[in-house]
Symmetry: C2
Subunit: 385 residues, 2 copies
C-alpha cells in the first residue's frame, strides 16, 4: 500500500518530484513552502490539496506517511530529524554541515524501522546502475583512475539566498560535488581517505546580487580523492578527480569515466559507453531512448532521470506492504543512507579545508557530536584569519 506523501520545498526539484510521484501512484497530500505565498502558488499549480508554511502541519498530517524534503540545506536537518521523531519515513536532500549530518545519523539509528535516505538520484540512474554492475563483473579490470566532470550554467538563484552562501550549503562543491562524492563511493565500494581541492568564486556579483551583497559559494571547484578500502576489486588506492565549473552558460556536461587495467566505462549524461583494451573502439552499452532535448530548466537530465528511477524504487519498496508505513529494504538498498550523507558531508568539508590550507586533508568521519562551544571557537578563529 503506497503511503501518502508530504513534500517540503517549492524549488525546481520539488516541482519535478510531484508529477513523478503521482506517475507511480503516490498521492501527494501536503506541500510546505518557506512562505505561505510560495506554498499556495505551487499547490494551486500542481493541484495539491493542502499547503502550509508551518512544518508541523505537514509532519503531523494524518495522511502523510512519507516525507520528501527538498529545501535549503540549513533547514533540512531540523525537519528530517523531527519527521523521524514523529514516525514518518524520510527522503531528503543533503544537510548543510557535518554536524547536522551527524544529528541526522543519530536520529536514523534511533528509528531503524523507518526509511531514511538521502535522495541522491544519480545512484538510481540506469547508466550508473549498469556501470556499478559492470565494475563488479570486472569489465575494466583493476580500477585505476576515476574522472568526473560537470560543467554548466550558474547555480545561483534569481535572488539572493542560500545558493550564494558557502556556509549555508551553496556552491558547486556542496550542491553537485557532493552527489559525485556519494556516487563514486557507491560505484567503487570505497571511501576517500585523503582529499585535495581548490575552490574559486569567479562571479561575486551579478545583476541580481549586488550592492553590499557578495557571493561566497564556489562556482569552480576541482578536487582529488585518494580512495581507501579493502581487498581487490574495490577502489582501494584509486585516485578520483572531479572538476566542476558553473561559469558555462549554455553548456551542460555530465561525464563520469572510470579507467582500469582492462578497459574503461564512460557515462556521458544519461548514456553509458564502454571500451575494452584491444577491442574495436567504444561501444554504447546503455542508450537513453527518451533522447535529448528533454532538459528541464534547472534540473539536469541525469538528475531528472535518476529521480524518476528513485521514485519507482520507492514504489517497489512500499507497494507490497500491508501497512502504510512499512517498506521492503530490497528495492531501496542502493539508496544513500544518512551514514553515507555524513561521509559525503565530511568529504565536502575536507575539500574546503584543503582549499584553505593548500594541503591534502584526511577524511575523518565524526563519531561523536562535537562540543558546540569548540565549534564556535573554531569559527571565531577562522574569521580572525
Amino acid at each position: 500500500m503506497l503511503p501518502g506523501v508530504g513534500v517540503f520545498g517549492t524549488g525546481s526539484t520539488a516541482r519535478m518530484l510531484v508529477p513523478l510521484l503521482r506517475g507511480e501512484g503516490f498521492e501527494v497530500r501536503a506541500l510546505w513552502g518557506r512562505s505561505e505565498e510560495e506554498a499556495r502558488s505551487l499547490a494551486q499549480e500542481l493541484g495539491i490539496p493542502f499547503h502550509t508554511s508551518q512544518s508541523d502541519d505537514v509532519l503531523l498530517h494524518p495522511d502523510v506517511d512519507l516525507v520528501c524534503i527538498y529545501i535549503s540545506p540549513p533547514l533540512t536537518r531540523q525537519i528530517a530529524v523531527k519527521a523521524l521523531g514523529i514516525g514518518k519515513n524520510v527522503v531528503c536532500e543533503k544537510a548543510a554541515t557535518a554536524v547536522d549530518a551527524f544529528k541526522m545519523v543519530t536520529a536514523a539509528r534511533y528509528y531503524p524501522q523507518l526509511l531514511s535516505i538521502v535522495g541522491n538520484a544519480l545512484r538510481f540512474l540506469p547508466a550508473f546502475v549498469a556501470m556499478r554492475q559492470l565494475l563488479a563483473e570486472g569489465y575494466v579490470g583493476e580500477l585505476q583512475v576515476c574522472d568526473a566532470r560537470v560543467y554548466g550554467p550558474s547555480l545561483l538563484d534569481q535572488s539572493y539566498g542560500w545558493t550564494c552562501e558557502e556556509l549555508m550549503g551553496g556552491g558547486g562543491l556542496h550542491t553537485v560535488g557532493s552527489t559525485l562524492v556519494d556516487l563514486l563511493s557507491h560505484l567503487m565500494g570505497a571511501r576517500a581517505i585523503r582529499v585535495h581541492g581548490l575552490l574559486r568564486t569567479f562571479v561575486r556579483q551579478n545583476g541580481a546580487i549586488r550592492g553590499i551583497r557578495r557571493v561566497t559559494s564556489d562556482d569552480f571547484c576541482f578536487f582529488q580523492m585518494l580512495m581507501g578500502g579493502s581487498g581487490p576489486g574495490t577502489g582501494s588506492g584509486v585516485c578520483c578527480t572531479v572538476t566542476l565549473n558553473f561559469n558555462m552558460p549554455g553548456a551542460f556536461v555530465h561525464e563520469v569515466m572510470v579507467v582500469g587495467s582492462a578497459g574503461r566505462l564512460i557515462a556521458r549524461g544519461t548514456e553509458l559507453y564502454g571500451q575494452r583494451n584491444g577491442g574495436n573502439g567504444e561501444e554504447l552499452l546503455l542508450g537513453d531512448s527518451e533522447g535529448t532535448g528533454q532538459e528541464v530548466k534547472d534540473v539536469p537530465l541525469p538528475h531528472l532521470r535518476g529521480l524518476g528511477s528513485m521514485v519507482k524504487a520507492l514504489k517497489d519498496a512500499f507497494q507490497a506492504q500491508e501497512e502504510r508505513r512499512s517498506w521492503a529494504r530490497g528495492p531501496v538498498a542502493m539508496a544513500s543512507t544518512f551514514e553515507d550523507g555524513l561521509y559525503v558531508q565530511t568529504v565536502v568539508e575536507a575539500v574546503k579545508r584543503s582549499s584553505r590550507s593548500g594541503e591534502w586533508e584526511s577524511v575523518e568521519v565524526m563519531t561523536q557530536e562535537p562540543d558546540p562551544n569548540q565549534n564556535l571557537c573554531e569559527a571565531l578563529q577562522r574569521n580572525k584569519n
Copy 2:
C-alpha cells in the same frame, strides 16, 4: 636561401619531420642514429645521403646549417649546446632536467645570432594560433579557468628505454605535460607560480618490460597551476588544470578549454570551437579540412599538424636570407625559446616534487647553475627516503 638540415633521431617524430622539411624545400643532408644500424636503416628508407652514429659527423658536416634534434631527453643538452658552439642553428626537443635546460639557456644566450628553439609544435598549430589571437582580442572576457586533457594509449617504447625511466625524461608529464605547460603559458602570456600534482605509474611491467625491470615513469598525471603575471588581459590568477592518462588504448583525446567571464574557447584535436555567453551555442571557429583518419602511429594529429606549421615557419624565417645561416625573427617569433624550455622543465620538476610532498610547490626558475655536489647530495638524500 634554405640551409641544409641535419636530423638527430630515428624515432617517429624524426621520421615525420624529414618529409615535412622536404615538402618546404629544405634538403636533409645527414641523419644521426643511436646505432649505426638504426641510422643506416632510416637513411636508406628516407633516401638521406649521409648517416652516422657519431654526433660530430653531423655537427661538423659542411652542408648542415640547421640541426633538428629529436632524440632521448638525456642526450639533447649535449648535442644542442655543441651545435650552437660550432655555429649551427638548432631546433630541438626538451631536455631531461632543469640543470640541462639551464645549460642550454646559457649557450643560447652566448650565441644570440643563432636560432635556438625548443620545437613545441603545439604553439604552431593553427587552432592554438587562433585561440591565442582570440584570447588577446577578449573573446572569453576575463580569463578564469583553463582545463587541458590528453588521453591516449601507452607512451612506452616496444623495448626498455628512456620512455620507461622517470629520471631520463620518460612519462606523460615530461613528454606530453611539458608541451601543455609551454602552450598554456604561451596562450595566456602568464607563467605558473605554484603547482600541485599527482603522478602515478599504473603499468609497471608489460609484455616487453619484465623480469627485474620496472617502469618508473608516470602513465597518469594530474596537476594544477596557479598562474602569475601582470595586468589585466593576462592569465594572472588563473587556475589551470591538466589531466593526462596514458592507460587508454584506442583513444586519443586532446582537449584544451579556456573559460572566461564572457565565453569560452575549446580546441578539440586540431579544431577550434567557441561559445560566447548568451550566444546560440557552440560555433566552429576553425575546422581542419584535411579531416580525421590521418592519425599517424605514435604521432598524435595536433603534434603532426603543428610540426607541419612549424616547418613552414622555419622556411619563412630562412627563405629571404642571403646567408645560409642567417634567419628572420618574425616567422619564428611564436616559437618556444630555450628560456621557455627552462621554465617548462622547472614546472615539470615542481609537479614531481609536489607529487612526492603532497603540497603546493612554488616554481622558481634557476638563475645560476647549481653546485653539482649539492645536486648529488640531494639525489642521495632522496634515495635514502
